[in-house]
């Protein structure tokens, strides 16, 4: 189905929303309703009510105080405000040591395994030696899924069997990475609902075991978030961050119509940078996060 065909089917309110947009970005004179329309755009992108209201209120005030009546200037102001929110989290960490251990975590089905493969591919393309570890020993065929990727990308993988102790797999993988002197070890873990405390405890155990094998490991804990997720992503992050302290984010499935605006609310609350975005199911569909283009897509007409 084409995007234009889809667009036609959208409800009336969506159409009035896009009218609001053309007023906002096409017309020159600023109306009060333009601010309401902007709020709708943000809410529809999953930014959340309170953050959306906050952003719009700030804009309203500064538009007034700077006597801005020109839409283009306001447009620039909006983008700047959002970009600065996203950039205040700082840059993702450097790969400072060897082996650099990256632990991939998140709730069920967000794209952890696929992202782990994509990231492995990316580092391999950069000429680094990479190793994968299949520490999702719970879900049916999870390790076969990662093994298939490893074979396709010709990257070594450490795996045991379904039902094995995930921490033991992580342990073996790190020992192997140390002895083979690889640059980066990427560990995939099982999807888990952040509300299940026993599963969160399991994650802490993996972290502890890694640190015991090699002090400082894991060097980066990356939480994968699905762009189609709404306000629950905040709760996911709070819980994972409390349990294991999250260093970076990876925002997947941005190739659909979901905008992933919840990361604005997240950047507002946490100092956790977004390292990558996922834009497809292929191993090349991964890009470093770029705040400006993300914001452009967010306020863009669908």
């Amino acid at each position: 189905m084409g995007a234009s065909k889809l667009h036609k089917r959208l409800s009336k309110s969506r159409l009035s929303l896009s009218r609001g947009l053309s007023q906002l970005f096409g017309a020159t004179k600023l109306e009060d309703s333009d601010f309401d329309d902007l709020e709708d755009i943000l809410i529809s992108a999953d930014v959340g009510v309170s953050v959306s209201e906050h952003i719009v209120e700030r804009l309203r005030v500064s538009a007034k105080s700077h006597r801005i009546s020109d839409v283009a200037a306001l447009n620039e102001m909006i983008r700047e405000a959002m970009v600065s929110t996203l950039e205040q989290t700082g840059a993702p960490p450097e790969l400072s040591c060897r082996p650099y251990v990256l632990l991939v975590v998140g709730v069920n089905g967000v794209g952890k395994t696929t992202s782990a493969a994509k990231i492995a591919n990316r580092f391999k393309q950069e000429g680094k030696s990479v190793m994968l570890a299949a520490a999702d020993t719970f879900r049916a065929a999870a390790l076969e899924q990662l093994q298939t990727w490893a074979r396709r990308l010709d990257i070594p993988i450490v795996a045991q069997h379904q039902g094995a102790d995930a921490a033991a797999v992580a342990h073996d993988a790190l020992s192997s990475a140390l002895s083979k002197n690889v640059d980066i070890l990427i560990i995939d873990t099982a999807g888990r609902q952040h509300t299940h405390s026993d599963l969160m405890e399991q994650l802490r155990k993996i972290k502890r075991v890694l640190n015991k094998v090699h002090e400082g490991a894991p060097h980066e804990i990356m939480q994968v978030l699905d762009a189609t997720t709404g306000q629950n992503a905040l709760s996911q992050l709070r819980h994972f961050n409390d349990a294991v302290s999250v260093d970076t984010l990876c925002l997947t499935k941005l190739d659909g119509t979901a905008k992933g605006g919840i990361v604005l609310a997240i950047s507002n609350e946490f100092q956790i940078p977004i390292r990558y975005v996922g834009t497809g199911e292929g191993f090349d569909d991964l890009q470093p996060f770029e705040a400006r283009s993300f914001v452009d897509a967010l306020v863009q007409e669908q």
Partner: protein, 451 residues
Amino acid sequence: MFEQLSERLQHTVKRVRGRARITEQNVKETLREVRIALLEADVALPVVKDFIKQIQQRAVGQEVMGSLTPGQVVIKIVNEELVSVMGGTSSGIDLKTRPPAVVLVAGLQGAGKTTTVVKLANWLKINSKKRVLVASADVYRPAAIQQLEKLAMDAGIDVLTPGASAALDIAQAALTHARSSGFDVLILDTAGRLHVDESMMQEIQDISRVLDPVETLFVADSMTGQDAVNSASAFNDALKLTGVILTKTDGDARGGAALSVRHVTGQPIKFLGTGEHLEAFEVFHPDRLASRILGMGDVLSLVEQVEQKVDKAKAEKIARKISSGKRFDLEDFREQIRQMEQMGGIGSLIEKLPGAAGLSGQLAGQVDDDQFKRVVAIINSMTPHERRMPAVIKASRKRRIATGSGTQVQEVNRLLKQFTQMQKMMKKMRNKGGMNRLLAGMKGRAPGMPF
């Protein structure tokens, strides 16, 4: 998962309940809060807007009846609209066709389709005694077919290992096999796909044409945000969905996507995924959901809840006290009565407890709901010391208490006797493990019900 939404709305009701007349201003104020509550629960904006408009139309000119406040009237309308959007009772699954009845499962990537296919097959096997075949037409995602095979094998469900490498050929082969081997039901798992991916949407339309399914189920993740309207409406347009399965409801998502999906597809939500395991799967009850979203079945219970909000902390304290075997005094008793009154009386409360049916009959003649008020009045007339040590209440004290509460000495005697019985009952329930259930009931959650 809908608890927070319900809390938020109840908070709203409380805020506006002081107002006496229905004015445009206080309706607006209430609706603003309702709007925020729904949006925070991830109900999609166009759906929220439709909702608010409908409610506004109904609210204008509405008479405020009895002791209700304008805000409560609006919330009552909100509740009714929610119920009407969610539909009536649970709709089940329709397999009335010449076998094999084909069920096609579709949805976005990672929604939970493969897991759900096996859960549904298992559910049909157990509940309808059907012979079910499952097959995967996901030729794209690494190890997707293996995943279904493993899950099915573990569950003892027949699974077809595809010989073909194109999704459409697999679908065709599965149908042929189901027919020739006399299966009642064929459930086809498909690859996750984006609604904007034209070729993938074409593929599933082709599969649907070949299979002519009786049920086409859209699997939706309960954590989905605003985008739920876009994906659900596109899948619905492409496939003529017959129902929705909402997954991952074991998390803490507020589940507004349920409303969005229902609103844009017009199709009922049929099942819920409540965990990763095979059995974590339930029939969905829309009526339960609607009242759960607002935390109330009708406006009367709403008003009750607003006016006499159950103090959970106190209830838990008492329950803990009782279950730990500590002395249960008349202050606790009074608190207990107040709480039970708010829960619909002791009879109805105890009836809800599995395994307590006998107890309920036993108690019916002894503690009846109408006596609650007099009992509370009697206890109110006691000194704190008397409440803690009922043994000190002798004749003269009884007379004083009866006069103070406008009752008779016999009634005071009866209360003291009932209190002793209550203590015994508590002990009995404690031994049966009933206290935990009672506690669960007090939190407003009937045991074993997700909503």
